[in-house]
Amino acid sequence: MIYFFKNPHHTIFALQIQRPLTADEIAKLIWLFGGSELLSDESLPGSFVGPRATMITPWSTNAVEITQNMGITAVLRIEEFTEVNPDFNDFDHMLLQKYEGLDQDIFTIHLKPEPVLEVDDIAAYNQKEGLSLSDEEVDYLNALAKKLGRKLTDSEVFGFSQVNSEHCRHKIFNGTFVIDGTEQPTSLFKLIRKTSEKNPNNIVSAYKDNVAFIKGPKLQQFAPLRADKPDFYTIKEFDSVISLKAETHNFPTTVEPFNGAATGSGGEIRDRLAGGQGSLPLAGSAVYMTAFSRLEENRPWEKAMEERDWLYQTPMDILIKASNGASDFGNKFGQPLITGSVLTFEHEEDARKLGFDKVIMLAGGVGYGKNEQSKKLQPATGDKIVVLGGENYRIGMGGAAVSSADTGAFGSGIELNAIQRSNPEMQKRAANAIRGLVESDHNTIVSIHDHGAGGHLNCLSELIESTGGQIDLDQLPVGDPTLSAKEIIGNESQERMGLIIAEEHLQMLKEIADRERAPIYTVGQVTGNHRFTIASSSNGSKPMDLALNDMFGSSPKTIMEDQSIKRTYRDLSYRETDLPLYLNQLLQLEAVACKDWLTNKVDRCVGGRVAKQQCAGPLQLPLNNCGVMALDYQGKDGVATSIGHAPLSALINAAAGSRNAVAESLSNIIWAPLNEGLQGVSLSANWMWPCKNEGEDARLYEAVKACSDFAIDLGINIPTGKDSLSMKQKYPDGEVIAPGTVIISAAAHCTDITAVVEPVLQKKRGEIYYINLSGDKPKLGGSSFAQILNCIGTDTPDIIDPKAFKATFNAIQELIKSGKIIAGHDIGSGGLITTLLEMCFADRDLGANIDLSALKEQDSIKLLFAENIGIVFQADESIEQDLEEKGIIFYKIGQVSEKATLEITNNASQWSFDIDELRDIWFKTSYLLDQKQSGQEKATERFRNYKNHVLNYSFPAHFDGKKPQIDNTKYRPKAAVIREKGSNSVRELANAMYLAGFDV
């Protein structure tokens, strides 16, 4: 029966229970629902908006668990409904539905699970279900059915389409490229792989696992002695590996930004949980690329291309909701987000429309594991297959196949069905259970994979790929009783991990999982018969029974034939006298403008390991492009990470775009002292490309080859990456192609987390220097400056000499390690002038006097706005000799001043920029976006106050800065940390207590 509670804000809580409530329970529920009254009615008239009837929400799962903890049993479901006007229609139809009256039937679903179907016509089934099978694959399946002498089941065809989708198999990256009639010697994947073959450096694991591992330092583990019962924290040493991973979730974020981005972040975190025999995530990163936001009228650069009739959401909504989703997941899971990037772009030329209408949402991150657990072990026959985490719902059916197509290509019903929903707290529970084993002296996990695209089908088949396994359909956890077998095994309900463990160790895992309240299901076992079988033990139905060879055996070689097309884009024309106007506009482009709207809502401290995040200086403005996490609480070793991309440069020259992307990530990570300097860096390359459009496959090949060659020349490797190769949005009246983009994520072992350089000039200390890392002349093609003129341009800067780049990188590293660099910043979006301004923004009464005449560039616009990769830093003059000795070309360009102006001279030209005024212009776009998330009032207050809330401290006079000295021979008083599922700050509090001399 269903009870209705109503709170003072007109929210209705509908509670479904198997038996009548007692008076005592009603009192408890009234308290729980915040002083609601229990309505006596069995049905309520009026209009309401609430969750779709078929979907038990994660919210309900949590609420039901709360009632269980309060001693109320037999509650099935609790959902929230809001009373609305009858004509109200402004709600998210994907997650919610409108109810005319609430009654005892609102949770009743008149659907019976579909039985296992035998597929008569595979081609027609493929079409109807949107499985994206190619003609060869349909032929293969027809031949398979003939060979087996039976019809294939719906689960088998569906399962095959998922595990063999572009998303999962990377057919293009492994395919053959024929460009201008010439077959290219190697596949794209082999090009990337070559970087690790030539420069294995510190790689521990590459390509074959869910993450890449590189060698890390010896660390101290601060963890409870055991995880299956309460115990004291102890410190143990171990040899570490550092993990690096980046994933994109472009299709889901385009269609449903909040959940798309949230599950993108969540899925990527699960990858970093599933390295080797288990590994631990530390920090995340995020990149968003959309079409222009059109925040207000007076933005001329947004006018050149006509606004589209957006298929799903406006770019502005996507920016806000996607970043809300990614932030929410990390905030709740307890992972800080410490670096990221934004780019908005659209451009029309020669009747060809370019833009990120199909958006890019990249979630990346770093983490660590134990060296001794960094490789998966071989499962043995009889080992148990275990699923850890949430139940199955009708969520994300067929995401793997649909995401491999252009958005707009299917009916919106299929596309919406394919979006997943997030439940970060559930993932935290599963993660805690895995952490318990990773931190134990003997990790008994044999092998582990996350559930993502393709659901159980992909995860479980990967686990038993080399052995075979039998899954009991009845043991798979079902949250929605109407699911068919196909839906149970193929849905993409999130927050689940699959793992293999020997039977004798299962009990220990269960005890840890129970303590962490992580649902655990033993769903099958390893067979050794090289078949993947899913069968019901109760009714004998067998939705899936294929030999692994047959399931993975289709190998239609993908052949990409393309002609290279020489495209030229209109060149820029500009006047030096308009420089202040250009600057004003440039500082408002999302890519250049302040990102406070992103950083002010995303956790940047949880875990107590964050050593460097986005915000810097007394004004705490987001300027750091290098994030650093401490690897333990000792405050020395860490992992540094950064991001780079240059898709507009790549439009002019695909190869230069790749080199600029790599170089940008390096000019960002350079500010952390790195183990072995440049050679210690490893990269992830994530490729977003509009393949199968004329000329684009040729450009992709050129871009990948250049990326690979450049990394090899620099002496570094690319041990991980991903591709998303259908970057096009189809509209009823045409299409918009996303510029081919590679996003580089860099990671390295940082040897001193206290010595990371920030982009805040320091008063009364040191001179300002400039180094041009590109080695190229200043060029404006592909720059943000070009964007405000609605141009791409003809000439993009490039990296001329990898050897010189490497030498300079390592020379700067040495200066940082010897403490000689006081402040430093890369030159990226917005060019040199933006870099100089930003270095003055994060404090008050801070400016600089700059003379650029020595750079010998007459065209001041080029000099100031070109995005040639380079760096600006502050140091004392002793560095000049150090650099000269190494033959590195540098320019001393000026001094820091205590007046808030940036004075720039170039030959006869002179400008004086008011820092306070330009800081506000730079902040304005952030303010406009913030209005959409914090409301007009708070956004305005923030805009008014951010520059006046200067951090000024007053330290206690008695404070000496020394760590407490604890006499370990004496008794340590006992302290305890109380936590609940969802708690995420346990370790840092335990560590504070421990440091102060408690036993925790």
Partner: protein, 215 residues
């Protein structure tokens, strides 16, 4: 929590407890609401906590979600008819930032010797607004945000409150994360002329230990 509910842990040999930050039960039905429910309606957990608070030799600290828990349980101002409440931030969204606190003259065992200091600290919460129904002098406010306007005060708390403690000074609650602001490298901005192994916040925990050693 599972250990307290099952009775496996009863806190009898513990002298200092910390309730930690996070999103217990994903903040469903209000921050820390479900967590508080697990204490209020579970005999073993409730008695363990009550006994702990009633013992004169104990200290507690509730940080962020833990602050919301102890406030929801009414443990800081047990004798007030209208109890303090934790509300949504005025911005109605999660707020993340590095701000500063000025420590008031206070009776907290952990923080009284830092009175008069202004120190940097992390905040990260969605429901951090202290609603304090009585006059300011009815509360033991331990720390305030260094500016009383948004965003330095991220949530719009009454009296600009960041930390509160009970009459005895033994039980302290706070929204900011001093435990994530313990080292120089934790601070998003630290005075450049200093070179410290720890930040002054460590003293809160050292003071707790010293007090317990005496009691």
């Amino acid at each position: 929590m599972t250990d307290l509910i099952s009775g496996r842990e009863n806190l009898e040999d513990i002298q200092f407890i910390g309730a930690v930050g996070g999103f217990s039960n994903s903040d469903v039905l209000g921050s820390a609401k479900g967590w508080a429910g697990a204490f209020m309606y579970n005999e073993k957990a409730r008695i363990a906590l009550e006994n702990f608070f009633n013992r004169p030799d104990t200290l507690s600290v509730g940080i962020c979600n833990g602050c919301q828990l102890f406030i929801e349980l009414g443990l800081i101002n047990p004798d007030h008819k209208d109890k303090p409440k934790m509300l949504h931030n005025d911005s109605h969204k999660h707020e993340s930032g590095f701000t500063a606190l000025t420590i008031q003259k206070n009776n907290s065992i952990m923080l009284s010797n830092l009175a008069g200091s202004t120190l940097g600290v992390w905040i990260s919460h969605g429901e951090g607004k202290f609603q304090l129904p009585y006059n300011e002098d009815q509360y033991h406010i331990v720390a305030k945000y260094h500016y009383d306007s948004y965003p330095a005060n991220p949530n719009g708390s009454d009296y600009n409150t960041a930390m509160l403690c009970d009459k005895s000074g033994r039980h302290l609650v706070m929204m900011p994360h001093i435990e994530r602001s313990l080292f120089q490298w934790h601070w998003a901005h630290y005075p450049s002329e200093r070179n410290d192994e720890v930040s002054p916040w460590i003293e809160a925990f050292v003071n707790a230990r010293k007090w317990i050693e005496k009691h």
